[in-house]
Symmetry: C2
Subunit: 97 residues, 2 copies
Amino acid sequence: MEFDKLVHQPTRLQLFAYLYRHGSATFSELAEVLDLTEGNLSNHLQRMEEADTVAVEKEFVDRKPRTTYELTDEGRDSFEAHIGTLETLIEGLDDGE
Amino acid sequence: MEFDKLVHQPTRLQLFAYLYRHGSATFSELAEVLDLTEGNLSNHLQRMEEADTVAVEKEFVDRKPRTTYELTDEGRDSFEAHIGTLETLIEGLDDGE
């Protein structure tokens, strides 16, 4: 059973799940909902961006910068594959000896 | 959502799952089934033992030492709680906006 460490890490697993479910989210929304410091969130999003799993859009709204994140197709695929791995592990628990 | 890092780490998650499913296992069985080096397996089992989640039995069989591992009640509880957390995350994916 192969575990995708990029996706499996607890904070990123929750980021993937949130973006998968909600489509896109701003930096401040993610920080608030997942209760993360800006530095911590920044580090994880950067790892995800470097792995081409998240796309970033920067714009100005009312003259304030706003950064929005969404999963790329590759990000959605990686997340779905990892959820499949976890489901396989969980389902296997019922097949006891 | 709180993640129990002791249980969530990929190698340990598989160790917990194997011991949960099979009741007990020898060191060499775990190394073979999960394809782990002795050093790597040793480190993870020690972390689990220090957290009182795994119990160790050492005995001699045909004059050879044999070490057997099984989850403690606390270990089973921690694993079940963590599986519950993962199931909650997975189930939440269907509740899109």
